[in-house]
Symmetry: C2
Subunit: 405 residues, 2 copies
């Protein structure tokens, strides 16, 4: 006799983006003549650049001849790609062994699965936060029961206007998720800020899981793109990254995780955590698709980087248009300069779901209620700069003209 994993019962009943979809569907059903402008989800919209398309076709062509056909590859990824990713850190003076790089099918899977290689421990997440970290922590049984949406065993690292969206150190935390450039606030972190957490983690033998999925959006050369720019981070941090946002691979699926051999945790010598993640991946995963891996190789070339950067610039210009629009209306907002997200304060301190409904009703724009990212997101609202320019402009125009302030 077997039952279900009871930890699933602690999950919130409705997933943020399903609830947004439900309310949007209801609105379009009631107003079929209106065009809804979606700035809700962080999903890329622009076509892949020519060099990447060519590389993906090449990946397909390799499979059409028995001489070049490949079956199962290494679960950790094509060794050429592991090396190319490792080498891409050299520009930031970070030296990685390719064996520290694990190619994956994207950041989401790795972010959820990484905690399974660790023993018991208290998990800390930023608040507001990308909901998947919290949900996977709940399912792993580490979050405890939920009271009014607050999980009793989870440490919430509050990020708000007052602390510049960078949290204070917690009293205790054994596994710490950090994400910069941040989703949802669009905030960035300085080296000095990150250093406080690196020092904390080293002192307490905690591990940091650093989500760098938006690192390609960093334009300010003083800001770190990788946690390994911080001294000592290789002793305490795992970094997760992805080709999703940097190369438009959200649907193509390709990412990577760095597990340094120098990383140590309690009673585990250097190399142990790296070998555990290796074992986890070879046991539960069969490698990323070989076709996207050919694409990934080309993303990291000079030409690939140039073409991808042009698309990032496009999204950043979208972000500028949104920020300017909000500023002109006197709405306080953050982010959107080294990140594709704009984090706005709702007018008059409205509840964020109320503002969601108001924005949809009055302007036909869909965004994401801040409270969906955690209790400290209440009174805030996320707008995403991923979208076709004409839609972004139409959305901002509609907000300017139709939002009743």
């Amino acid at each position: 006799m077997v039952g279900i994993n009871a930890a699933y019962d602690n999950l919130p009943k409705s997933y943020l983006f399903s609830e947004i979809a439900r309310r949007t569907r209801a609105f379009t059903a009631a107003h079929p003549e209106l065009k809804v402008l979606r700035l809700g989800i962080g999903n890329t919209t622009e076509a892949l650049p020519p060099t990447l398309i060519e590389a993906l076709h090449h990946g397909v062509n390799l499979l059409s001849y028995r001489e070049t056909y490949t079956g199962y590859g290494d679960e950790q990824g094509n060794s050429k790609l592991r090396k190319a990713i490792a080498d891409s850190y050299l520009a930031r003076n970070i030296k990685l062994d390719p064996l520290e790089v694990f190619v994956s099918d994207g950041a989401k899977s790795d972010l959820g699965n990484l905690t399974t290689i660790f023993g018991p421990g208290i998990v800390a997440v930023q608040d507001p936060v990308y909901p998947a970290y919290v949900d996977t922590t709940i399912i792993s049984g580490r979050a405890g029961a939920s009271f009014n949406g607050i999980l009793e065993d989870l440490v919430y690292l509050v990020c708000n206007e007052k602390n510049g969206f960078f949290p204070s150190l917690p009293e205790r935390a054994d596994i710490i998720y950090l994400c910069y450039p941040n989703n949802p606030t669009g905030a960035t972190a300085t080296k000095e800020q990150l250093k406080t957490f690196v020092d904390f983690a080293r002192k307490n033998k905690s591990v940091i899981i650093f989500d760098a999925a938006y690192s390609a959006f960093i334009q300010d050369t003083n800001l770190p793109r990788s946690i390994y720019e911080i001294e000592g981070a290789d002793k305490c941090a795992i970094e997760v990254n992805s080709f999703s946002k940097s190369a438009g691979f959200t649907g193509v699926r390709l990412g990577w995780t760095v597990v340094p051999k120098t990383l140590v945790v309690d009673r585990a010598e250097p190399g142990k955590v790296n070998s555990l993640w290796n074992r986890r991946q070879t046991t539960f995963f069969n490698g990323a698709s070989n076709i996207p891996q050919e694409g990934g190789l080309v993303v990291l070339t000079e030409q690939g980087q140039r073409e991808c950067q042009a698309i990032i610039d496009y999204y950043l210009e979208n972000a500028r248009i949104i920020r300017t629009g909000l500023l002109d209306l006197g709405i306080t907002s953050f982010g959107g300069e080294n990140a594709p997200y704009i984090w706005m304060k709702t007018p008059y301190g409205m509840k964020s779901w109320d503002f969601f409904d108001k924005l949809l009703e009055e302007t036909h724009v869909v965004g994401t209620p801040g409270v969906g990212f955690g209790p400290s997101g209440e009174g805030h609202f996320r707008l995403s700069a991923f979208g076709h320019r004409e839609n972004i402009e139409a959305a901002v125009d509609s907000i300017r003209k139709n939002l009743r302030l």
Copy 2:
């Protein structure tokens, strides 16, 4: 302070295929002039057929125009593909709702992750068995400690010549892995045989995880290709399948899992397990790559099936060549008729690793020692029919000429 997940310490130190690779490397280093003939791993070797290549190119082309570009898809897979997979069961009189089909990046991930949606329970695996089921059970903490390679909390369902490689019912088992056509024995199961386990599972509220990854190799029309051909299986069984072996997608990565809405477990109404797997996948996974999904759609068309069948026939002819060769030498072997694996008894009851060394030394053929699949695999050896025809023929010739019996 955090340590490592102690369950990893119960894993066997060396993974079967790494040890094979290690011994093979040592042999080739000592004999660089010799060509090693690899019949060890179940990895496809033949190029993808033209219709599939075309579909994959189409998948890439869709990404090159903003009008057809897609970012994140549904985590459960493209709805057209879910429907096409569901419809493919109609030929066997099985009616599935597309919402019962979850597209994945391959069978291995799902086979390992499925148990995470269930509560505590005793796991049963066939013996011999595909090692990943055992390793993922160890990591989940359900297998207990290991004594001389035997896991104290795991139920071993012995499959041997005496029982026709189909196990007797266990006294107790809550989660039961079954695989037919079987890896590694190449055995198939009749409907009557599978019915005994379906009845057992329903009576005991156990769940069967049925690995049907090799179903496309079944030529005998009386044999079931899906567990859902057995009455009542939709109440107790989850089926995992893949395009890896049926369409040569081992490196392309695409599979699916069927979780019937009618499935019930202890204190979980119909639909609950389906919704839990849906939640698991939407939380830990971001969908299979969109390019392979275009390929999968075409695999299921009439033309796609015809082209894929030709490749399966090719591997089955390889299997026939191996079987005939062994038969001529008087070596007892099983499987290879509705499956790509031949399961041979080692001559004179040799230990299977000793036979591995002997076969490599004398004939330069690499196979897989049976004991690597579990204690009941001792004295047996697996040969794989995946390979270029000329290599298969060379291997069989070499065995005929050089194996000292």
